[in-house]
Amino acid sequence: MSEALLDVHDLRVAFQGQPVVHGIDFSIAPGEKLALVGESGSGKTVSALSLLRLVVNAEVSGQALLGGRDLLSLSERELRGVRGDEVAVIFQEPMTALNPLYTVGNQIGEVLQLKRGLTPRQARAGAVELLASTGIPEPERRVDAFPHQLSGGQRQRAMIAMALASRPKLLIADEPTTALDVSLRGQILELLSDLQRQHGMALLLITHDLPLVRRVADRVAVMEKGHLVEQGTVAEVFEHPRHAYTRKLLASEPERAVAEPAADAAPVMRAEGLRVSYPVPMPGFKGWFRKGSFTAVQGADLAVPAGGTLGVIGESGSGKSTLALAALGLLPFEGRLEVAGSGWAEARRDKRLRELRQRVQVVFQDPFSSLSPRLTVEQIVGEGLSVHRPDLPADQRRERVAALLAEVGLVDDPQRGADWLQRYPHEFSGGQRQRLAIARALIVEPQLLVLDEPTSALDVTVQKQVLSLLQRLQRDRGLSYLLITHDVGVIRAMAHEVIVMKDGAIVERGPALDVLTAPEHPYTRLLVQAAA
């Protein structure tokens, strides 16, 4: 392909002698949309960003021809001319990619002055125009806004405006929608596609999100562990994947394998008129004297069926995680909340708090912050036993921990589990850590497990494994789940009942499959559509 805009040949990247990208080849034609797909650690981001030498301490070799020049052999000075000029980058997290000390207009204007040689007055006008083209309402006003004054979607639009300021030939978008709520993702993608068509840019899209690739890209390149295992047009790869890894990725949509709970069983958890509010500082000098309050959950009624799963779906800020913390008795709330036949306040009053805690356990989202880095596996998983069964001798406690490690699929048989007991969390992958967190919760044999986004931080293939583990545990142990998630796919695979939350209120409820197939509320419809 001689007319290629960017032609990458035998790109290798290493960190301190450790190779992470093992010689990949790809090319992008002018105006083409190429998606680079892979799981975390596959080297997709490193490959793309090392083209512009944006990765610290990376040893890069190979060839990357852009308009006849090899990017990898340019001097730092020449490369600076290319960055943000011929090639622009959009990052995943717009909050950290924008400088919080300057207004958006300032930052866009800076690019215009630097790359297009405009005067400050022209640059400001140009910034307004760019912001308008990305669909931000009232661009004349927003141009003077600081990043924190914009919403997440607006920030990402401002980032795009900034990237477009230099009229690049190639736009590298590194997970441009991952940090955004589902309902915004579609809009941002549409915007990117529109602008790409208008400006005739090429787009290198780095993502792990397969539906997104199908919707946006022309061609796709699949990466696994630093190798490019397959590339081709989107239709080809999705219809006839040739490599085993691609097939595994495509088949990673979680499957529903849950037993129906008994229809007459009493609910494990029941809430009526549940209200949770936080004190927040009031603006101005009023805040000196009294605190305002923000209501995160407004009067929720819900029930978790025994042996079943209540899914709670909503976007960030909808109050779903607050609901989880209230269910765990970790937040003060108003209204009626009963877990396993007892309210938190009554348990506290009757000194039965510890007993109640044993019945409700939790698994959090981030497998890295949910395990203390300074405790061994035995200490982490065995902690519940030392609190709730202090009479148990140490060797029996160890036996139970080892048995549970086998049950959550961390080891093949309990004998091998003994080897793992003295290890520390840093040696485990994200999926393994999530299994550890599940084991920690299960050791006290709870009735209700609160799952707060249990798989959102995991890769798709690992996500599927963890979900099927949770399904198996529910069938074997008759567990009930309160499942908090933003992911429609997870609800579809796991939930019996579902409630949809928006801005602290429940907007729709019902049997999970009914709600997902025939959503009534427009917001639910939006969520379901965005996930399709």
Binding site: L328, G329, F364, Q365, L371, S372, L375, G384, R440, A441
Partner: protein, 344 residues
């Protein structure tokens, strides 16, 4: 698959060991401190053992009158007196002197040259203006400085962790009240208070330790507070809470071990700051009572008799060496505990 897994602190220690400069600084510093703990054996005006007319004496632990060794007086024997020295070393008698036969306050009344005298065979590092051996004073002065610094650091660390933990863990109004208290307390003029107190009370090492400790915990407490504030809202702490652990268990098992990085990193730097503080106070005459061996007092002597270059030079050398060792250790520790360095 390796069966042994390294704990985070063990991995940090391995990283520390790989920094050769820091590691050997630690080794040398420990050797010096341990040696200084045995200062009485290394530098003493009394012999360790005396064999006199068929009997064995241990002057290092007991006082013997001069008459025991054939002297005229009932006063404790002065073993630097050439007469006594002759008595206990002639014939079958023998005496084992310390390598440096002077104590920290020993005045050699039998010196050949006027005080202060430069380095010689009798006094390897020379003497000060009162005729006391400089090497002996340096050894004892180093010991006082290091022990003082260790005590001050230990007290400061304990106070800093406790106050920081209370503020960070409970947050809210407790935190607010404590922070305002620290602001008021921190704006007290520390030096003037020290001057006033040293005028009111008889100066002593204990009093100094108390006064410096009163102000020494605040910096550390802020770091511990910040770590606690960060760690208490992490998921593993929430999970522990949901498990039903008490506040004390959560602090002790979960938050504290993960909040000690700044404490450990600052240890050597706090030590060197404590040594410097003691030295400067002694230099100003506000520090330890007269008669206590002290590097600061030696420095002020060196300033007063500028011609006696051996006083200021050797004291300066000891100080620089100590502070340098501590700084190297601190640098290595900081690298070893840097969360961005993962590899072993």
């Amino acid at each position: 698959m390796a069966t042994a897994s390294l704990s985070p602190s063990r991995r940090a220690w391995l990283r520390f060991k790989r920094n050769r400069l820091g590691y050997w600084s630690l080794v040398l510093f420990c050797v010096l401190v341990v040696a200084s703990l045995f200062a009485e054996v290394l530098s003493n005006d009394r012999p360790l053992v005396v064999r006199y007319e068929g009997q064995t004496y241990f002057p290092i632990v007991r006082d013997y009158p001069e008459t025991v060794f054939g002297g005229d007086f009932e006063t404790p024997a002065d073993y630097l007196d050439p007469f006594i020295r002759k008595q206990i070393t002639q014939g079958d008698n023998w005496a084992l002197y310390a390598p440096n036969p002077y104590g920290s306050q020993t005045i050699n009344y039998f010196a050949e040259k006027p005080n202060p005298s430069g380095p010689s065979r009798a006094n390897w590092f020379g003497t000060d203006d009162r005729g006391r051996d400089l090497l002996a004073q340096l050894i004892y002065g180093f010991r006082v400085s290091v022990l003082f610094a260790l005590a001050l650091t230990a007290i400061g660390v304990v106070l800093g962790i406790v106050t920081g933990a209370i503020q960070g863990f409970f947050g809210g109004k407790t935190d607010l009240a404590f922070q305002r208290f620290i602001e008021i307390w921190g704006s007290m003029p520390e030096l003037y208070l020290l001057i006033i107190f040293s005028a009111v009370f008889a100066p002593s090492v204990g009093l100094l330790l108390i006064l410096l400790s009163l102000f020494g915990w605040m910096g550390l407490s802020d770091y511990v507070r910040a770590e606690f504030l960060r760690n208490r809202q992490l998921d593993y702490v929430r999970a522990a809470r949901a498990m039903g652990l008490s506040n004390a268990q959560i602090i002790w098992r979960h938050i504290l071990p993960n909040s000690l990085t700044p404490v450990v990193t600052f240890l050597p730097f706090r030590m060197s700051a404590a040594i410097l503080a003691l030295t400067s106070l002694d230099f100003l005459g506000l520090g330890v009572p007269p008669g206590t061996p002290s590097l600061g007092e030696l420095l002020s002597q060196g300033k007063n008799s500028i011609d006696a270059w051996w006083i200021s030079l050797s004291t300066f050398g000891v100080l620089v060496l100590t502070l340098l060792l501590l700084t190297f250790m601190g640098d290595a520790l900081r690298d070893a505990l840097d969360p961005r360095k993962q590899d072993v």
